[in-house]
């Protein structure tokens, strides 16, 4: 059971950054001579078949992104008149200008909204999940087990089944079409609590808590001054996934918001898309939708590239412990 734990913690190990492939994910490579062998063994028999399969696989997964990059550099007319998988006249700059100036620059507003919704939800949700996960892991309190199983059960509750009743409730409280309508529901991450409980159980040594108690430190201060620091690597995983979930969310903002100035990027882009495909008069929108799509995926792809060791190790703990 505890085998998952070194994964997350290895993610926090600064020495692991240089070679994340083996060090962060395989505790075996760092301890035993057998693991060492495994790491050092040269990649065997990379024959023609595996190379071909590899090319096909990568081709499939990167193909739409390749197309998106190419299409972003084309004018609307060239999209229709030139071959889709190769460049034509380079209009990326003009397209970008179009993206950020269309409808009085509403796209920039959507981008800021997306950043605001996802950062606030992710930071808030992560703090809540970290505190709760730590309490469930380190305190044996009356009702704790029951509460935790209720939260576990809620992982199964489909979020979209909740969205409509939440909308109706918010409509009564006059919270629809406000920033709260997006942030409040996004703060709750039952899976985050579960991950943090798993993580806190091993990352925070109980004797450390005992020692702080002996020194007369209050329980809440122990959490903030002793435990929180140790919980950071696990928290970053939860943060990243809440961030992605909110950044990518479409259904909730779609039903909650009416004012275009409050839309996040996915809702705004979807609206542009339906305008674009509705009439030939609005045809000029296609290149704008495509370039806007490219702009909207760049931040997350960069975040994933730079924070690799966190999401990879975090996912592992969820997978191994389930």
């Amino acid at each position: 059971m505890s085998s998952s734990q070194p994964n997350i913690r290895a993610g926090a190990d600064p020495t692991a950054t240089s070679e994340p492939r083996d060090d962060t994910l395989d505790p075996g490579t760092r301890v035993g001579p057998i693991g060492q062998l495994r790491k050092d063994r040269p990649a065997p028999k990379s024959n023609l078949l595996t190379v071909v399969m590899l090319a096909i696989t990568l081709g499939y997964f990167l193909f739409p992104l390749y197309w998106l990059v190419i299409a972003s550099t084309k004018s609307n007319a060239d999209l229709f008149s030139t071959f889709g998988l190769w460049f034509a006249d380079f209009s990326l700059i003009e397209n970008l200008r179009q993206v950020f100036t269309a409808q009085n620059g509403v796209f920039g507003r959507w981008a800021l909204n997306s950043i605001f919704y996802s950062v606030v939800s992710a930071v808030g949700g992560t703090l809540l999940a970290t505190a709760a996960g730590y309490a469930f892991a380190k305190y044996d309190f009356p009702g704790g087990k029951a509460l935790f199983s209720v939260i576990l059960g809620a992982i199964m509750v489909p979020t979209t089944a909740l969205a409509i009743p939440t909308y109706l409730l918010f409509a009564r409280a006059q919270l629809t079409d406000t920033y709260w309508a997006i942030i409040l529901p996004s703060l709750v991450s039952p899976f985050g609590v579960y991950l943090m409980r798993v993580y806190a159980a091993d990352a925070v040594d109980s004797s450390l808590i005992e020692a702080a108690r002996v020194d007369g430190v209050g329980e809440i201060r122990i959490f903030f001054q002793v435990a929180l620091r140790l919980l950071v690597p696990g928290s970053i995983t939860v943060l990243l996934f809440t961030l992605v979930a909110t950044w990518n969310n479409y259904f909730l903002p779609l039903i909650m918001l009416n004012t275009p100035e409050k839309f996040p990027l996915p809702v705004g882009l979807a609206q542009w898309q339906s305008t674009a495909s509705a009439g030939s008069g609005a045809q000029a929108m296609f290149s704008t939708v495509i370039t806007g799509s490219l702009v909207s995926i760049v931040p997350l792809i960069l975040a994933f590239l730079f924070l690799q060791r966190y999401w990879q190790s975090g996912l592992s703990s969820g997978g191994v412990k389930a």
Partner: protein, 316 residues
Amino acid sequence: MATATTTADTETRSGGAPNRKKVTIAKKRQYVAAYILVMPFFVIFVAMIMVPLAYAGYLSLFREQLVGGVSFAGFDNYTRAFGDPAFISGVARMALFLVVQVPLMLVLSLFFALALDSGMVRLSKFVRLGIFIPYAVPAVVATLMWGYLYGPDFGPFAQLAELLGLPTPRFLAPDAVLFALINVVNWEFIGYNMIIIYAALRSIPTELYEAGRVDGASEPRIAWSIKIPAVRPALILTVIFSVIGSFQLFVEPNLLRTLAPNAISSSYTPNMYAYTLAFVNQEANYAAAIAFLLGLVIMAMSYMVQLWNQRKESRG
């Protein structure tokens, strides 16, 4: 005082009676701390999950009438749902989607994870990222891209077909659109599931199968007999998440609908149907019943997966 706490603590464990009063005080302080730490999450959890759930259940028992406002309807909305061809066909369509898409996705995810873990793949770090990257793409953008790629206007497949003098492929025709959707969802999530399985594979102690290697067992044999059984918990997790995800399908069909209005109806998935009922037809009560039923179906399916897993585990 704090020292007393710890001694008191040990004495409770050894069954010492004299310090009981101190024990309760120290313990109580910890209980209070635990509640304070759990409370913020729990308040929002109740407000954003339990209350809407209960509210959906409550709403579903009523009906609006054009004359006379809202009246109690008992289980009428549910009996209506079970006789509603739009709802039933949506659920059936999602069941078909689930049966085709989830196994295909998970087999591919498992295959890629095993291939990367076996060390037979060059540039494995790059390959792993390449397969995972679609997960960072919002579903809206993923669907927009694939929608354009499928499209007859400037989709590259249509352009290629025209160049070669072939008929334009119709990915969005009524009988093909389910597979077009399956492709989009697979593209989005194979990498995510692969990473979960891969991480689980990486945490298997090497000794477990190094012996097999020494004995000359082939890589596929090791994968089948040692690695796959060892990553069962991760596989179960991916199955459950996939079941939950499939039944909630909304974004992809809803966006492809603008390109293929004839192939995708407004009740194509149960979720789209609930959305249409609530926001187009203004039938909030019936929509709540549909949402509630959908939640029940998904939870029942997830529990079935877990039960099946537990039974297999106890047998194995």
